[in-house]
């Protein structure tokens, strides 16, 4: 991509200064302003939160092995699914790709030496950690049982659990999102290298830009909503509780105004990662670059006008239901544009099935299933039957886990050699991708059937006729858990024992691959000058080589 540093030669990581060995000691990490180190601080934090959310999920699936509940009391079960939802959504998925890979890669991909506001970037991490601590304290002091949606008036009036602490944790963590989004928007606007025009930007940057828009425009609304919830709970100001003169649907409108776009905060960065992986492992320029780029912005914008499909059966007017149903169908268009363009990119590509590519291909299949089942739920009539059932649980897990987590892992595997300068064992990585794919489908496909048959979500018990599918789902969760542990082991192993990666182990295009691995602290010795389009892979007669 850059003419200045295209033919870089490998220099052993031990014999040069890079961002990992420039300074040592805990203080050098806690006070760092380097976007790469801050990305790694986020990586550690969200991995820990993923572990907490994962433990809650494991206990839930163990409980559901028996119809009467094998493990915990119903009250405890309520706290488990609430903890799982809150932690996974607000403390893992929302910051997952943006705060880790986004922080690490945005300056590298656009040819900058850091983000626009490095101190603000570090402050974002501290704010996020404070939010995490609040949430963990809420879990330790009795937990919260409202579900991740905090629906009123239960959460504002009747719940006797640590609702306020959990809400405070989300409120605080939200500011981290806003500041990160702001930082990314300014960075992308102001700090691109000479020649890095908007239409030469990697598609990951476009998706991060769209995500940042949602961060900035949507997150303040959830903050205000949770503040109002607190006001009603503490001071009994009538906002959402009908007994106090409030409107419970107002809470749902405000909550989903953020929380539906939040789904796209989770999936848009994943789409950005996949848009990098598919060309890299097909050795081909992405098909329809500008369509994929603009579809990210279209998804971000449309995501803000579809929230009412969460409220078809909660008392929303039929007229509003019709409007939101039609609008919800619109979001399928830019999503489909992406899927078609990724698959068109594969055509006549020189495809290699290394671990990141397996995750990308898994993403396309699982996201498509998750997206298409979303159309069932956007239809007014079918939603009446499926709302509140396991069909919804399966649907959004296909998007959030099958989509977002697969892309996150694909991205981690793709850029791990750049981040650490080490290679991981590819065979194990491919094996784990396969295990995760199988485990995921085994866990969540039965839940589509369970939901269609009418099993409601959020119950600790269920009729005996649903047991075999529930056991299947729990068995799948065990496989999935093993699939997540394997990468944790070999990635940590690779830090010490992995062979040196070299600057560009995948022979990929992009500015980040033109510098040493791990990158030097200042990223680029000289400001790169970009003279080529993104994904300019060589082709002969229209076929990639």
């Amino acid at each position: 991509m850059s003419t200045a540093t295209a033919d870089i030669h490998e220099v052993p990581a031990e014999s040069r200064v890079h961002y990992l060995n420039a300074r040592y000691g805990i203080k050098s990490w806690l006070l760092t302003l380097d976007h790469k180190r801050i990305g790694l601080l986020y990586l550690g934090t969200i991995t820990f939160m993923f572990l907490i959310g994962g433990i809650a999920a494991t206990l839930m699936r163990l409980n559901l092995i028996e119809p009467q509940g094998a493990l915990v009391e119903p009250e405890t079960y309520n706290k488990l699914f609430s903890t799982h939802g809150i932690v996974m959504v607000f403390f893992f998925l929302v910051p997952s790709i943006p705060a880790t890979l986004g922080n690490f890669l945005i300056p590298l991909m656009i040819g900058a030496r850091d983000v626009a506001f490095p101190k603000l970037n570090l402050m974002s991490w501290y704010i996020f950690v404070t939010g995490c601590c609040c949430m963990l304290y809420a879990v330790m002091t009795g937990g919260v049982d409202t579900g991740w949606t905090f629906y009123t008036p239960y959460s504002s009036t009747y719940a006797h659990t640590s609702v306020l602490l959990a809400a405070l944790g989300i409120f605080i963590a939200g500011f981290s999102s806003i500041l990160t989004g702001l930082n990314f928007i300014v960075t992308i606007h102001k700090m691109r290298a000479p020649g890095m025009t908007w239409f030469r930007l990697p598609l990951f940057i476009w998706s991060m830009y769209a995500t940042s828009m949602i961060f900035v425009l949507g997150t303040p609304v959830i903050a205000v909503t949770l503040l109002l919830l607190g006001l009603e709970r503490i001071l009994h100001v009538g906002i959402f509780d009908p007994a106090l003169g409030g409107d419970p649907l107002l809470f749902q409108h405000l909550f989903w105004f953020y929380s539906h776009p939040a789904v796209y905060i989770m999936i848009l960065p994943g789409m950005g990662v996949v848009s990098e992986l598919i060309p890299a492992f097909s050795r081909k320029r992405i098909f329809g670059y500008s369509f994929v780029a603009f579809s990210s912005l279209a998804i971000a914008v449309i995501s803000f006008v579809v929230w009412g499909h969460h409220m078809f059966v909660t008392g929303q007017s039929v007229y509003a239901g019709l409007v939101f149903s039609v609008l919800s169908f619109l979001v399928a268009i830019p999503s489909a544009i992406k899927v078609f363009n990724w698959t068109a990119t594969l055509y006549k590509g020189s495809i290699s099935y290394q671990a990141p590519m397996l995750y990308a291909l898994g993403f396309i299949g699982l996201f498509t299933m998750g997206g298409l089942t979303g159309l069932f739920l956007a239809s007014l009539a079918t939603d009446v039957h499926l709302n509140g059932t396991y069909f919804i649980v399966a649907h959004f897990h296909y998007i959030m886990v099958g989509g977002a987590v697969m892309a996150y892992l694909g991205g981690i595997h793709y850029w791990w050699p750049k981040i650490t300068g080490r290679l991981y064992p590819d065979l194990w990585a491919r094996f784990s991708a396969l295990v995760i794919f199988v485990g995921f489908n085994l866990t969540f496909f039965p839940q589509f059937v369970l939901g269609y048959l009418g099993m409601p979500r959020r119950y600790a018990m269920y009729p005996a006729e649903f047991q075999s599918l529930n056991v299947l789902s729990s068995a799948g969760a065990s496989v999935l858990a093993v699939g997540y542990v394997i990468p944790l082991v070999y990635l940590i192993w690779s830090l010490k024992y992995g062979p040196p990666a070299g600057p560009n182990p995948w022979k990929a295009k992009g500015l980040e691959w033109t510098i040493q691995s791990p990158p030097p602290t200042e990223n680029f010795e000289e400001t790169p000058i970009v003279t080529e389009e993104a994904y300019n892979y060589p082709t002969v007669g229209g076929v990639s080589v």
């Binding site: 302003l33 380097d34 976007h35 900058a112 030496r113 850091d114 490095p118 101190k119 606007h189 102001k190 700090m191 290298a193 000479p194 425009l217 609304v221 409107d247 649907l249 107002l250 409108h253 405000l254 105004f257 803000f304 006008v305 929230w307 009412g308 409220m311 008392g315 929303q316 007017s317 039929v318 007229y319 509003a320 409007v323 939101f324 602290t521 200042e522 400001t527």
Partner: protein, 125 residues
């Protein structure tokens, strides 16, 4: 890390606002707060919310224009501000599309009229 020698062209040109302007805006905001409190003790009937909102919007505009420097910024900054208000408009409008239509009844009459014809459509194929 915060220095970017390659990007000196992006140096910001900050507009210097005199302290007297800030003081004047601050006094106006305090006056608005006092006015809001005073109005709260007087029952204006259906105008209660309207008056409170007018004062709040006036105060908000002062903050946005002067404290946030929007009055002195052009281009992208203004687009961002307008975008923020547009999004607020989306939130309020679509929320009201529910609130204001909850008592609307769906009239099935037109559908009843065409239903017999639709149910026989399959005979055409």
């Amino acid at each position: 890390m915060s220095e970017h020698p390659g990007h000196s062209a992006h140096t910001l040109h900050e507009h210097i606002v005199p302290v007297s302007t800030y003081v004047a805006v601050f006094i106006a905001l305090m006056f608005g707060t006092a006015l809001t409190t005073w109005v709260a003790y007087h029952n204006l009937g259906r105008w209660n919310s309207v008056v409170a909102l007018i004062i709040a919007v006036a105060k908000m505009l002062l903050v946005v224009l002067f404290f946030m420097h929007v009055k002195y910024n052009k281009g992208l900054s203004r687009i961002v501000i307008v975008g923020g208000f547009f999004w607020l408009g989306i939130m309020i409008t679509l929320s009201l599309s529910d609130e204001l239509t909850r008592r609307w009844e769906i009239n099935p009459a037109p559908f009843n009229m065409i239903l017999p014809y639709i149910s026989h459509l399959h005979l055409l194929f």
